[in-house]
């Protein structure tokens, strides 16, 4: 099984179509909808975590692209500034997915972008303000 988080952008022409339900019916994919918004210009933005076999995820994404929906891996939208981060580990106490974790026994703070859902909890907890999540509070940026 494969778990990955994607950002989907729906052009306004397709926002009334049952695209997500087709992912279940046709491609046997499970998913968690982490965020869903319709912007001013009627484009839709959705953050989706896919669970399913790699081949099915691939087919599902091909279907989305065919429908005009752009699909990008979430990872690109989260960034840790390694100059600012001094590896204290405060973020590991609030990260709900384990994307930020401590490596034992050396206590290095690891960041696995693939596990990050861009919830943004780490941003304000980080004493050095080293985490930048472009999705949080600014969905419009993603649609740009």
């Amino acid at each position: 099984m494969n778990t990955r988080i994607y950002v989907l952008k729906f052009p306004k022409e397709v926002i009334d179509q049952p695209i997500i339900s087709n992912l279940v019916k046709k491609y046997d994919l499970e998913f968690n909808i982490l965020k869903a918004t319709i912007l001013l210009q009627q484009e839709g933005v959705m953050v989706l975590e896919f669970l399913g076999h790699k081949a099915n995820v691939k087919k599902g994404i091909a279907y989305l692209n065919e429908m005009g929906v752009s699909v990008k891996s979430m990872a690109g939208n989260i960034h840790r500034d390694d100059e600012k981060c001094y590896q204290c580990g405060a973020c590991t106490g609030v990260c709900p997915t384990g994307a930020l974790s401590l490596h034992r026994p050396d206590m290095a703070v690891l960041f696995d972008e693939e596990k990050c859902t861009a919830c943004g909890l780490c941003v304000s907890v980080c004493p050095a303000r080293a985490m930048e999540v472009s999705l949080n509070g600014s969905v419009a940026e993603l649609a740009a």
């Binding site: 600012k84 405060a90 609030v94 050396d106």
Partner: protein, 389 residues
Amino acid sequence: MGEFKVQKTYEEINAKIKAGQAVVVTAEEMVGIVKKHGPVDAARKVDVVTTGTFSPMCSSGAFINFGHSNPTIKALKVWMNNVPAYAGIAAVDVYIGATEPTEDDPLNKVFPGEFLYGGGHVLEDLVAGKKVLLKAVGYGTDCYPNKNVEKEVTLADLPYALLVNPRNCYQNYNCAINLSDRTVYCYMGTLKPQVRNATYCSAGELSPLLNDPYYKTIGLGTRIFLGGGIGYVTWQGSQHNPKALRSENGTTRRAAGTLMVQGDLKQMSSRWLKGVSMQGYGSSLAVGIGIPIPILNEEMAAYTGVSDAEIFTQIVDYSYDYSHGVARNYGEVSYAQLKSGQIEVNGKMVPTAPLSSVVRAREIAETLKGWITSGKFLLEKPIQTLPSE
């Protein structure tokens, strides 16, 4: 003083350092050495143990002289990047403190406040070589007629800049929990309601004062790694409390000793002085400190051999007890347990998160080890010891 099997003096250790023959290890490495060889043999083998800590340390700041302008000013109020600095010292001398918020900061008006910039950040910007906008207003005197000065300064422009931290390097600290039903935002970070997480802030076995629990070698005049440069211990810190509860190995089980430290800001770097923002609390400064401990005898070897499993702290509620002076705890835990990622509180497993960087603490101990083995950093015998038990 015939009580020890191994006896070395500062002079002997310094002679070995100068000759490039001193054996220097970090406090982490010393744990294994003492365990394997025992304190007497460890004291024969090892001359110096280096320690390190890197975490937010309030009670930090700098004395700055910003130089005379023409015409001259006697500053009444001074701001650096819009952060107020205390000017009631002399004409152009100020003290800028780490927790001072920006003049127009919204503070906690919308709770919890972000505190994105403050005195700690001004210090970081200075050591990073960035330009800082300095504004001063005066009331005008015959000798200092100017009433307004505004100029951009860099650390290199300043005639004098001395980091002076009245309380750093806490010997141990509380593990924080929140027993209430609402989230607590405090200097110990974000604490979830109903004890769903715990935070702690110590370098444990790498921490300076936990390796010299009775301050036998750390005192006035001790030369140290401070913010990437060389600094000195100049007094005990404020709130220094040597009478705190101790374990048999001498380490304190509560917040106890503290250090006042100072050093030339111009030697320091932004890698080791970092402005921090504690949500809902305020800004502060993360400070890197490393202290060398001379292994004068087997007693010092035993002290420096202490491991995370043998150092304990108390679990304190920050929703009510801490803020209302209730001397109560919810058990004691070792740093080995804290670093494992979970502890037991009231029969429930609770995830832990640190605020003190072990990675950076280790890097400081290694850096100091490098300075000493290369012969460029000698140990200084304290001219006066700190108040002990």
